[in-house]
Symmetry: C2
Subunit: 332 residues, 2 copies
């Protein structure tokens, strides 16, 4: 079992590894603000606390985990650099963390990845290596890079160091808004919700942790229902950050500590994005708006088990989205 | 001279009236966060501190002044309500402040005002009365409303209570980022920059206060050059919040306390908006992005007098902008 994913108690991370991560990354990350809106409280019928990880360095929470993983490496390991294959925010986050440590980051990016996310990788000095869009091609290109460079592979979520880094978000948020009784967290591979749930339930065992998932990539909801990891032959959602599947490190935490999964469709995600832009004035990507979409969905509002979720922390997980359509409209 | 615009020392407001305003409005306003970005520091060659007034209630700093003015009224005055004529953020802010005090707000809105700003007025329960777009029509409709209701007219900027409310922004910002040596503030009628300059220079006389103005509505720059209030026959700028002219309450403060005015064109404003959305992840309206546009302009960068502006506070003044083009692009 590789360094950093050794068992800590039952899982690959725990409150101690999360507190260690906080001490390790605190001087590098932004302490992101928590926003609130009376208008959105009124629309939802609850008090909402928006944790703005779109303002995190690299534009997403991913920098927490990447930074913790990169600064966990010993000097010999680190010197050869880090590798990942990712079309998204983890790639940019890892590039930035590597840049801060002064080591190379090799990023395998599948063709067709969102332009703004590729630009982020380049802005932070990541070395882009293109692959085909299939997972097979991504993995084979990545293992070729590994052989040639001797660099360390850092998986975007199935890794205790990554999960511990993401968990620091809970520590911050529950200090900023101690009244929170419920957290709503986007779920994809499960790295964020695992870290958030481990930390939050350690601080307050009564806190409820809900995951929000797109209907077109509902592997986590299916996995919870089946009691084992389910993967899907394909996914179909506007939320490009939420198309990954649970891994063997995240699944046990999701199985045990996530109280429920709220599924929403893309139309609800876009409506929630509109509210984030127009009421909160925050730029979120589709994946980032899904927590608000979940709170406003009928399946949430009508669920009697969620009736006493009064003070809800919503993670606006990222803000990397192509806004070309907006700038075109100004040029008219 | 009417209540609230009585002379305080040399001007209609001063540090005491601003501190009084802060005590009066503190429980109603959001303490807006200050964001920073290494990427934008690198682009500008300075350290930038972004005061996010787009996250203020009503989506703009205007709520500070409106709230102070509304809660300064005695009960008899207040009972009859408040009136203003405005196509913009002051109207929404006044509606919200009046709603909080439980009194009516009559808002005269010229035809053709931005849709999102009219919606804000309605959301906060302001009573909309339409006028033609000319200033003559706006004023005559407003005075008719005044006669019929006995309500108090609250000018958007030429009023000591409004200026004092806007000044509270300085108190907050200089506490959040005490290293700031320069402030860059959008200028239109001058209410915001007057309050900000009065407070900031009282706290730190060495601080530099710069105003940012669109080239197509450069009455303040012309006024400073001429040494008297200059108005323009027409304005032409995308920044719909920056088309007003200085008033007799704001002009003396702008004349004496604003160190320089940086003029930028609409193309620079749109480029700065893009950076706010894409790097900071903050939704700003064109007027709100003008401070960043000023810092990035050649006339700023090449001005030797501004070379030692190292730690710059930029006021992102508001975020009320029609984003229809963006949502259209998602529907494709």
């Amino acid at each position: 079992m590789e360094e950093g994913s050794q068992m800590r108690g039952k899982y690959v991370a725990d409150i101690s590894s999360i507190r260690e991560a906080q001490a390790r990354i605190n001087s590098f990350i932004h302490k992101t603000p928590v926003l609130s809106s009376e208008s959105l409280n009124a629309v939802s019928g609850r008090r909402l606390f928006f944790k703005c990880e779109c303002f995190q360095k690299g534009g997403a929470f991913k920098f927490r985990g990447a930074c913790n993983a990169v600064f966990s490496l010993d000097n010999d390991q680190a010197a050869k650099g880090v590798v990942t294959h990712s079309s998204g925010n983890h790639a940019a986050a890892l590039s930035l963390a590597a840049k801060l440590r002064g080591i190379p980051a090799y990023i395998v990016i599948p063709k067709g990845a969102p332009k703004c996310k590729v630009e982020n990788v380049m802005r932070y000095g990541g070395q882009v290596i293109w692959s085909e869009a299939t997972m097979q091609s991504r993995e084979s290109v990545a293992s070729k890079v590994l052989q040639e460079t001797g660099a360390v592979l850092l998986h975007p979520y199935n890794d205790g160091r990554i999960i511990s880094g993401q968990g620091t978000l809970s520590l911050e948020l529950l200090e900023q808004a101690p009244d929170i009784d419920t957290l709503i967290v986007p779920i994809s591979g499960g790295g964020l919700v695992s870290g958030v749930a481990l930390a939050a339930k350690s601080i307050n065992p009564a806190i409820r942790v809900l995951a929000a998932e797109p209907r077109g990539a509902n592997d986590a909801a299916q996995s919870k229902a089946a009691g084992r990891i389910i993967t899907l032959p394909e996914t179909n959602t506007i939320a490009d950050g939420l198309r990954a599947f649970l891994g063997d490190c995240t699944w046990p935490i999701v199985r045990d500590l996530v109280d429920d999964i709220i599924t929403v469709d893309d139309k609800e995600i876009i409506e929630a994005m509109k509210l984030c832009y127009e009421i909160l004035k925050v730029v979120v990507e589709p994946s980032g708006a899904i927590g608000l979409a979940a709170v406003l969905s009928d399946s949430f509002k009508k669920n009697p088990a969620l009736k006493n979720c009064s003070n809800i922390g919503i993670i606006l997980s990222g803000g990397n989205v192509d806004l070309g359509g907006l700038w075109d409209s100004f040029r008219k």
